[in-house]
Symmetry: C2
Subunit: 305 residues, 2 copies
């Protein structure tokens, strides 16, 4: 028996649609996996989410099956999933499940694959959940830190170390956004002008992480593509943005396809005041909102027992 | 009297259309500037290029006028320009003129502006030459090194230090490409898919420069937007690409809008063999081609006498 923690993650980081994400320490899910005497994949328990127990309809088991197929083994497993954040919140719930599941099974089987090699299997699970093949949540949840997917074909992923120590505020107003639906809102074509501005910001973001330039970080974490269409689905988006930037956030945007938002802070920012103001904002309109204060997770999936 | 050297430069660096460029040590132009007793801007000599002597039609004097206007001075200057590479070669000829001219005048006037502040004036000259406002040649020629233009409005430029020591091969098959014409060939809209792949490469490029990962550099220096339309105007483009990659180049693409090409090399690559093969290639078809072996220029414009 093994139990692992798979962190939640923030995809896109403003300018890097489908290209980058980072993992967070404070939320995620626990996955427990046990070998079975037969060849079945059985989901025994799912806590914290209303998801399918059918192994062909659950990202965790789809990802595990992909790993087992690569090993040409028919070993079966019992799986329990405990989610500490809601699917559809924009924090990479399906990616945590997929990453945690393959990580756990690989550990139980005495690591036939290196951690990086597990990404392809986790991606198979994620592709089922979000109807698209994207790794900007799976890669950080599995590998930790800031992960960039340079290319999908061939898959080429690298990690960017952050010179500054940053904290992250995650703000989750409780409305559900389906990633697959949300992706349909995005344009299939964009102007050269917009694309150019976006990759100027991508360059700025990567450079800012490397040298710890948080002023540049704040300018670069900007999104001309998804934010304009998606923000209207997020209650009080502009107000939250105004609050955190006013209190010195060094980067704010939608987390993945939302409705969660993220705000990065360095030591000069006032996280506590931001939390108070945002809590007050949602209380005033009687709207349920969860706020998490977290660090960037640098580890990825880890064994907890 | 002052004489300055303004380096040539390579814009785009594959994936960063209109967003980045680097300066080179081996080619550029010399600009000599002398104060006049009156308020006129007079171009006395242009060597190496067939350009206008009309101060309202030459990038150097247009850039100088923009600087003088900002200073509200009516000081006049005599200007001589000596170009060591051809306009229309894709190596930022107009940018060198614009950068060198404002740098020289600023020096003669005892530096009323910081070097970085000269960029806006040089851009005015460049905008005249290429019918568009782009800084990916002007910034490296003026400031040296790898320069990234994150944003044009407001203008936000930063420099990326390269961890690896790289040499650059510049290959100029002697056909003229007009930047303004060449820009018209590019699509005004691109697919999200293409844009995403492009900014994945931009992220890879910046990261690769920072950590000195030349394998990643080679993968990231790729262009899905300008190269496909522009390469057909460049004689033997695919053959040159094949030669340098075969000899270990860590990044090849069109320099600016061409026809020049650039190839980066680290110590593992074989520059000399690349030069031989490329020379042979063009000799076989009786085509005039200049090849320069250079270092990345880290200084930008400099006073030479």
């Amino acid at each position: 028996m093994i139990k692992v923690f798979a962190p939640a993650s923030v995809a896109n980081i403003g300018c890097g649609y489908d290209t980058m994400g980072f993992a967070v320490t404070e939320i995620g899910e626990e996955i427990q996996v046990t070998k079975r005497p037969d060849d079945k994949l059985v989901i025994n328990e799912i806590v914290g989410a209303d998801l399918s127990y059918n192994p062909e309809q659950n990202v965790a088991t789809i990802a595990i099956q992909s790993l087992l197929d690569a090993l040409r083994t028919t070993q079966g497993f019992d799986i329990s999933i405990h989610k500490f954040f809601k699917p559809g919140s924009g924090l990479g719930s399906s990616a945590s499940s997929a990453a945690g599941a393959v990580f756990a099974v690989n550990e139980l089987l005495n690591r036939p694959f290196k951690r990086e090699e597990l990404l392809q299997f986790a991606l198979e699970g994620e592709a089922f959940a979000s109807s698209s093949y994207h790794a900007d949540n799976v890669a950080p949840s599995l590998l930790g830190g800031v992960q960039v997917i340079r290319s999908y074909n061939p898959l080429d992923v690298f990690r960017v170390e952050m010179k500054s120590k940053l904290e992250v505020l995650l703000i989750f107003p409780d409305v559900e956004v389906k990633t697959a639906e949300s992706k349909k809102l995005l344009p299939t074509n964009i102007s050269m002008q917009t694309a150019r501005n976006q990759w100027g910001n991508v360059a700025g973001l990567i450079h800012a992480f490397h040298i710890g330039d948080n002023k540049l970080l704040r300018s670069s974490i900007m999104d001309l593509i998804a934010e304009p269409v998606r923000k209207s689905a997020i209650p009080k988006y502009e107000e939250v943005k105004r609050i955190v930037l006013q209190h010195g956030s060094v980067g704010f945007n939608i987390s993945g396809s939302g409705p969660s938002m993220f705000a990065l802070f360095d030591l000069d920012g006032d996280i506590e005041q931001s939390i108070d103001d945002i809590s007050g904002l949602y209380q005033d309109c009687d709207f349920d909102c969860k706020i998490y204060r977290s660090k960037i997770d640098l580890v990825g999936c880890k064994v907890i027992s």
